[in-house]
């Protein structure tokens, strides 16, 4: 967001409710939004709704009818929700069925359930009842406990909310009522600093003009005050005495917190209502003694509650790949089952005539009178059954528990990201936020970073820097002296009032502004600062300071630019001290002056300017206009003073080339007749029911012309701390950084230089066209130039060979969504840096889509304002900056943080770790489960293919719950392949994630081959060692259980890089836990394997087997690992060695490799 007003807000004077929607529509036409819908009540998306609504009368079918102060009639049909809220999902009775129902929505649980149900069929009962249900039950139980706890907390907070008190008009008297009892149609009175209980339409306030100030921090996080208005028709009524009755017809409840469309029939008149007439639940009334309103939406139908939806859900790239490998694993599973059932069929067929008498088969049942087949349903059925049984036995081949482990690991990773001290922004007191829990590991694979400029790269804290007044440039040296004296202040009732923010001033200009006289230049300076102080929507609020004799004036407003200008004006002695809807009071060099505000045209992004009509005390009327240079020079009467205009233009150019934001101010005196014409047309326009916004705009355009140029201001939006370093790191990490901004090209380029995005060595390609043909031509030229440049310099240093592309929004209109896109992509992918200036919000999304749809590379978008929402949602990973511009971007983002520079630790450190951990964890889980299944499978081949398991059923169930579950999760959360220091010092290490080094199909196959070898070792060493011995199956089963569990834990231990006490505890603890479990199982006399482990443990052969298995199974893995480590070391390996033997690092090429602490 970069223009004059960061957001196009609906809270305007005089109900100009849908002006802003015009602009949103204009860029909607140029860029298609793509396939993704808009989540949440995002401003940009919903603007279009407001747009269509303003043109359409509310249809009776779509309307909700609210009879003011008549809740009975309003609620006759019982169709409106009461005001009690319930965010809790369950009650005591519904908890079990509903929670189970919700849990079974997940595929993993369905799989468990189907397997468990299959197992209950008597023919298929592989496991006992208890053992078969245990995995499912334990997962369900854990989740249910978690859900129940969360729900209990929600219930608790609901209860507090519902029992808050508000005063409600009952029988013409205000009485206290619990929030939950408030009904739609009732009249509610709210006093200062109270929270609004439901969405109300303002009727009257303590302010005679019907203004109420509200704080919406609970709703959208914006702390500045917003103004809301009661309608002329109602504002003078006092509800107790003067009964208001009327009918409000408003739209059905929706989640758009910035839009409201309704009309009110009162006293036979029809009044239209807009978003500036409604106060939403959760807002707080400030600076207003009381406000009275009628409830229109209550409880769950309030906009706040409707917006109460969870974080977006995305699926990570790694998980998508993992699902492909899981398909492979299912294929393995089916293969194993087919092999087993086919062999079983062959075996049965070959022994067909022996089956009746075979002591270990005994097909015939002689026990009951007649002889019949026992549990034998014919060859075909037997094959079918053995297929199903093998599915049950080999079920964990598909590592369903992996999904649950991954969730836990991500929660753990998110915990660490949130707690990271180095991602805490002390200035705004915000922690890192992890809103999406599914894509932590995507942070390690980002290739493209799309960044907004204002508020993202810059602080969005505007500082007035220079002024050009009537062609004179005041950009001299700044002095601090004046600031130290405390700046400009005034005396009010013996108290000192001073502006809250101190501004550095130009001494020359200060001197001039102090000595006002009748000279021309002095007048110009007067008008200029008056325009700065008056032409805005800033509300001054007097707050106490630490010094009792001193009060501070806090300028509250939505645009940081305006704030900066007003503070600047105050510093030069033009202090705005009061604003109501009708007048403003400005202290000019110690003299209070009152101006009537006769009219105001709000900023809109189409006009790109705003104007205010001031009535002077001497009853002259002047209009002041302030806006972007492009829009202002069109309406300035150049004939008046051409030299001044030219000089100002030159100043503007020099300001913007050092990265300053510029605004131009103009003025015109209005004659009485002009003013009258304007007033009539304005009144007609503002009361129009149809197309009000368009009409108002027309009125504004008619007024804003033939202006005298007063001057221009330059505001600095400083780069955030650490941005240049951050961008350098990102670029070193081989990420392509694109900056998308609404700013002018010069500003964008200068910011590009100061943020080290552009360097002087780079060659720049600028595309700046306004027709499709010329776009095509410059794209083609650019491609050729680009190829040449890269060819020529490819051998030399990187920076010289890199090309920066600078393209503007107008050109993009002709390129995006046409066949030129392909060329732009080709060009952009060759460029190291891309700067897009003057782009509209949806174009930002279009640019992200350009890359996302054409490459496999991961994209990340970072921004802070409502205009970045579409881009954030479009990118694979969306990051919101919780900064000055409200919470829209944060609400739509997957991750949110306070500063741009945190992107570096987020991606290079946490992203890297998360990716490495998750990638390893997935492979390890595949291995772990497949190993166990294969060991079971080999045994089945020795049992006449009958799915017997030597390993007890309890051990097979506990295998993935107790024996091996904890270490993989702990390691997945805690292991670090490299220290934060190395990762930050060598951003290139990030490349391993971009190259998918830790998880790919090749690694999967390598892992599977390793698994096969390990399973062969684990199975056949005991078989051959105990061949022709009197070993019983329980003992051999225990040996296999222990061998497999030891193996998977030692396998994990071999790969652990950082051994903390937690890793030790989990790995060795698992082994001990397994031993304890096996001992407990073998101490139950009614199980066939009673005492087997003790007998086994006392024999030497057991220990020798176990030891041999562990060593033999790990040898190939160890050899390959060591060989690769030595001969083909990956970057991570080298960096790890360097970390360990730090001394050896110093001998290297300076600059590139140095460990800085």
């Amino acid at each position: 967001m970069s223009n004059l007003h960061p957001q196009q807000r609906p809270d305007t004077f005089q109900n100009s409710s849908s002006q802003r929607s015009i602009s949103s529509n204009s860029w909607r036409a140029s860029v298609d939004f793509g396939s993704k819908g808009v989540r949440h009540g995002s401003r940009s998306g919903n603007d279009s709704e407001g747009f269509s609504m303003s043109r359409r009368e509310i249809n009776d079918d779509d309307a909700r009818l609210v009879y003011v102060n008549d809740p009975l009639k309003t609620n006759e049909m019982f169709e409106f929700a009461g005001n009690s809220i319930r965010t809790g999902k369950y009650s005591v009775i519904t908890f079990l069925p509903r929670n189970l129902f919700e849990q079974f929505h997940r595929v993993a649980y369905m799989y468990f359930l189907i397997i468990a149900v299959l197992n209950q069929l008597p023919q298929l009962a592989v496991f006992g009842r208890g053992a078969s249900i245990l995995p499912l039950a334990s997962v369900l139980f854990v989740t249910a406990v978690k859900d129940a706890y969360e729900d209990w907390r929600r219930h608790k907070s609901d209860k507090i909310e519902n029992n808050r008190m508000a005063s409600v008009l009952v029988n013409d008297r205000f009485e206290l009522k619990k929030w939950k009892d408030i009904q739609v149609g009732e009249v509610v009175k709210i006093s200062a600093d109270e929270t609004i209980p439901c969405d109300i339409v303002l009727l009257s306030t303590s302010d005679p003009t019907g203004v109420a100030y509200v704080q919406t921090i609970n709703l959208d996080g914006e702390s500045n005050l917003k103004t809301r208005y009661a309608k002329q028709e109602t504002l003078s009524r006092i509800p107790e005495k003067d009964i208001i009755s009327g009918l409000i017809k408003c739209e059905k409840p929706n989640r758009n917190i910035y839009g409201f469309q309704a009309n009110m029939e009162i006293d036979g008149k029809r009044v239209s209502l807009g978003p500036s007439n409604i106060i939403l639940r959760g807002c707080v009334i400030k600076n207003t003694d009381w406000a009275v309103g009628v409830a229109v939406y209550a409880g769950r139908e309030t906009k706040a509650m409707l917006n109460n939806s969870g974080a977006p859900s995305k699926r990570s790239r790694l998980e998508t790949h993992m699902n492909q490998e899981i398909m492979l694993l299912s294929f393995f599973l089916v293969t194993l089952c087919v092999v087993v059932s086919a062999c079983a069929g062959v075996w049965l067929r070959r022994h067909q005539d022996e089956l009746d008498l075979m002591p270990f088969y005994r097909r015939k049942d002689y026990s009951e009178g007649k002889v019949e087949n026992y549990n034998y349903y014919g060859l075909g059925m037997e094959i079918f059954f053995s297929f199903l049984m093998s599915v049950i036995v080999f079920q964990i081949m598909i590592p369903i528990s992996l999904y649950i482990s991954m969730e836990l690991v991500r929660v753990g990773q998110a915990y660490f990201m949130i707690r990271d001290d180095r991602m805490f922004d002390a200035s705004s007191n915000t922690r890192f936020q992890c809103r999406a829990l599914n894509i932590n590991e995507d942070l390690g694979q980002i290739k493209y970073v799309f960044s907004d400029k204002t508020g993202t790269l810059t602080e969005n804290k505007m500082e007035f820097q220079f002024a050009s007044i009537a062609g004179v440039d005041y950009s001299g040296e700044k002095t601090e002296v004046y600031v130290e004296q405390g700046g400009y202040n005034i005396q009010v009732d013996g108290q000192v009032w001073r502006p809250k923010v101190k501004v550095q001033v130009d001494p020359k200009l200060l001197q001039l502004s102090k000595t006002l006289n009748d000279t021309k230049s002095s007048k110009e300076i007067y008008d200029f600062f008056l325009a700065l102080a008056a032409c805005n929507t800033i509300v001054p609020i007097v707050v106490n300071s630490s010094n009792p004799n001193e009060k501070l004036i806090d300028y509250q407003g939505e645009s940081p630019d305006e704030q900066a200008l007003v503070y600047a004006a105050a510093a030069y002695g033009f202090m705005l001290i009061e604003r109501t809807s009708g007048h403003i009071v400005i202290d000019i060099q110690g003299e209070r002056q009152r101006f009537n505000v006769l009219g105001m045209h709000e900023f809109d992004s189409d006009r790109k300017r705003m104007s205010v009509i001031l009535g002077y005390p001497d009853s002259t009327v002047k209009v002041f206009v302030k806006g972007a240079d492009t829009s202002m020079f069109k309406i300035i009467d150049e004939s008046l003073n051409l030299d001044v205009v030219r000089a100002t233009e030159a100043h503007l150019h020099s300001y913007s080339s050092v990265g300053l934001r510029t605004l131009v101010v103009g003025m015109r005196a209005l004659s009485v007749s002009e003013f009258d014409t304007w007033q009539t047309s304005y009144e007609i326009a503002s009361t129009a029911l149809m197309g009000r916004a368009g009409l108002l705009r027309k009125v504004a355009i008619n007024l804003e012309n033939n202006l005298t140029l007063l001057g221009a201001s330059a505001i600095e939006d400083r780069l955030q701390k650490g941005v240049p370093e951050a961008i350098e790191s990102l670029r070193k990490a081989n990420m392509k950084v694109w900056v998308l901004t609404g700013d002018k090209q010069e500003t964008a380029i200068s910011i590009g230089y100061s943020s080290r995005l552009l360097t002087s060595k780079m060659s720049q390609i600028v595309i700046n066209n306004n027709s499709k043909m010329s776009c095509k031509k410059s794209l083609e030229d650019a491609l050729i130039t680009c190829k040449k440049l890269i060819d020529v310099t490819s051998a030399t240093d990187d920076d010289a060979s890199s090309v920066a592309l600078i393209i503007d929004g107008t050109s993009l209109v002709y390129i995006l969504d046409t066949e030129l896109e392909e060329q732009l992509f080709e060009l952009a992918s060759k460029c190291a840096v891309v700067l897009c200036c003057r782009v509209a919000p949806l174009q930002k999304a279009g640019i992200v889509a350009l890359i996302k749809n054409r490459t496999d590379d991961m994209t990340l978008a970072i921004g802070d304002g409502a205009n970045d929402v579409s881009m954030i949602q479009m990118a694979d990973v969306g990051v919101g900056i919780s900064g000055q511009e409200g919470r829209q971007a944060v609400m739509a983002s997957d991750f949110a943080m306070g500063q741009f520079r945190f992107l570096v630790p987020l991606l290079l450190v946490h992203g890297h770790w998360n990716y490495q951990r998750m990638a390893y964890m997935i492979l390890y889980n595949f291995y772990r489960n497949a190993l166990f299944v294969l060991v079971l499978f080999w045994y089945v081949l020795y049992t006449g293919f009958t799915l017997t398991t030597a390993i007890t059923e309890w051990s097979s169930v506990l295998y993935s719950i107790i024996y091996t579950a904890v270490p993989t999760i702990v390691i997945g959360i805690l292991d670090k392949d490299l220290s934060r220091k190395s990762l930050m010092a060598y951003p290139q290490l990030y490349g391993s994630g971009q190259r998918k080094e830790s998880y790919n199909l090749k690694l999967f196959w390598v892992t599977m081959v390793d698994t096969l070898w390990q399973s062969v070792v684990a199975f056949f060493i005991p078989v051959l060692a105990y061949w022709k011995s009197d070993i019983d199956s329980s003992s051999l089963g225990d040996l296999w259980t222990l061998a497999v569990v030891f193996m998977v834990n030692i396998h994990l231990a071999m790969d652990v890089i950082r051994w903390t006490w937690l890793s030790h505890a989990s790995i060795w603890g698992s082994i001990i836990a397994t031993c304890i479990c096996v001992i407990i199982i073998d101490a139950i006399p009614v199980l066939p394997g009673y005492w087997a482990i003790f007998i086994l443990g006392s024999s030497g052969l057991f220990w020798i087997c176990l030891f041999g298995i562990l060593v033999a199974s790990m040898i190939p893995r160890f050899v390959v690992k060591m060989f690769m480590q030595h001969c083909k070391p990956c970057d991570i390996q080298i960096a790890r060695e360097a970390e360990k033997f730090r001394n050896s690092m110093e001998v290297t090429r300076s600059g590139e490799i140095e460990m800085h602490r």
Partner: protein
């Protein structure tokens, strides 16, 4: 191999805390800076690891082989010569008939055998681990006489005529091995066989009830194997206890008894067998095995060979890696190997 790194204390560890600050409380845990040991396998460690395996495995392998060599084992397959020659159906008819099934053979002791000499019977191709078979038993019933009727898992050998429960029920008990062996030396001196203590003590004490007596056992129309003395409790029926420990693999041995005298090399032993057990119906083999035992169990060279192979392999690997490290040395942490240093235009 391992050193514990101590990360520098964070300077912000105790910042002046504002009221209501959301700053995460600093701890080494939350900052992922727990003290940790980060082992790196340097060439020395790798080679030493292989050498250690060699040094450990080769002696164990040799010891195992030595132990196995010292075990004297006599295996005598008798199912073939104890039955009339002819087709399988003849043999099945023979074994099912009431004919005298006594069978004699003599065994020559090849080497001095020290007592105790274990007498095993070995069955081949008998799937004691078959799913239908292993499930057909009731461990509750074996242990507690109050659970006599707990035969639901024992089908198809659960009850007589569907009403009276069989104790012990199930296919496993029903198919109990019932060949008998008696040994005598050349001069007709009987060699006593101890059958006491051939089962696990834990089984006798806890798994089989002292007050559970066989009932209705082998009363059906189809006799599967041995009969049990109904006056002896299950806990004392050691043959049953041994049989009920189902074997892990289709070729298995079960302990029949122990001969507690030494046998000298060249001794001939006469064996009188009752060849009652029907393995002919499924082509199973029956063997009589006399074996001494070592600390490793019976005669089996596999473990010894396997350990020697692993040990040898690790020696070869140790040498190979030494060669690799000598021929192509790489300084640990050498930054010239980094991808971005190897290819300058690798950006």
């Amino acid at each position: 191999m391992s050193n514990v790194t101590t990360p520098p204390m964070n300077p912000n560890s105790s910042p002046p805390r504002k009221i209501n600050s959301h700053r995460p409380t600093y701890s080494r845990f939350t900052q992922q800076e727990l003290p940790a040991c980060k082992p790196i396998l340097t060439p020395t460690y790798v080679i030493s690891a292989f050498m250690i395996v060699t040094v450990v495995f080769v002696p164990i392998g040799l010891a195992s082989l030595f132990a196995s060599r010292h075990v004297v084992e006599i295996v005598n397959r008798y199912d073939d010569y104890c039955a009339p020659y002819g087709s399988r159906s003849d043999k099945v008819r023979f074994i099912q008939s009431d004919a005298d099934k006594t069978c004699n053979t003599t065994i020559t002791v090849p080497k001095h055998m020290k007592q105790p000499i274990y007498v095993y019977y070995q069955l081949d191709n008998f799937y004691q681990n078959h799913r239908r078979y292993v499930k057909s038993r009731s461990d509750q019933q074996l242990r507690n006489k109050n659970y006599e009727n707990d035969t639901s898992t024992c089908k198809p050998e659960d009850s007589v005529n569907g009403t009276v429960p069989i104790v012990p029920c199930g296919l496993v008990a029903w198919s109990m091995f019932n060949d008998t062996f008696s040994f005598s030396t050349n001069n007709n001196v009987k060699l006593p066989i101890t059958k006491k203590g051939i089962s696990w003590k834990s089984d006798r004490d806890h798994k089989y009830g002292k007050d559970v007596f066989p009932k209705n056992f082998q009363n059906g129309s189809l006799i599967g194997g041995a009969h049990l003395n109904e006056s002896i409790p299950l806990s004392a029926q050691e043959d049953l206890i041994v049989w009920m420990r189902t074997a892990a693999l289709p070729t298995f041995r079960k302990l029949y008894g122990k001969i507690e005298v030494d046998l000298k090399a060249g001794d001939t032993i006469n064996v009188i067998m009752q060849n009652n057990y029907n393995t002919y119906s499924f082509n199973g083999k029956k063997k009589l095995v006399l074996s001494t035992a070592s600390w490793l169990g019976g005669k089996n060279n596999f473990i010894g060979v396997a350990y020697l192979v692993i040990g040898g392999l690790c020696f070869v690997l140790a040498m190979t890696f030494t060669a690799i490290y000598l021929v192509k040395p790489r300084r640990l942490g050498d930054p010239t190997y980094l991808t971005w240093n190897r290819s300058p235009a690798g950006h």
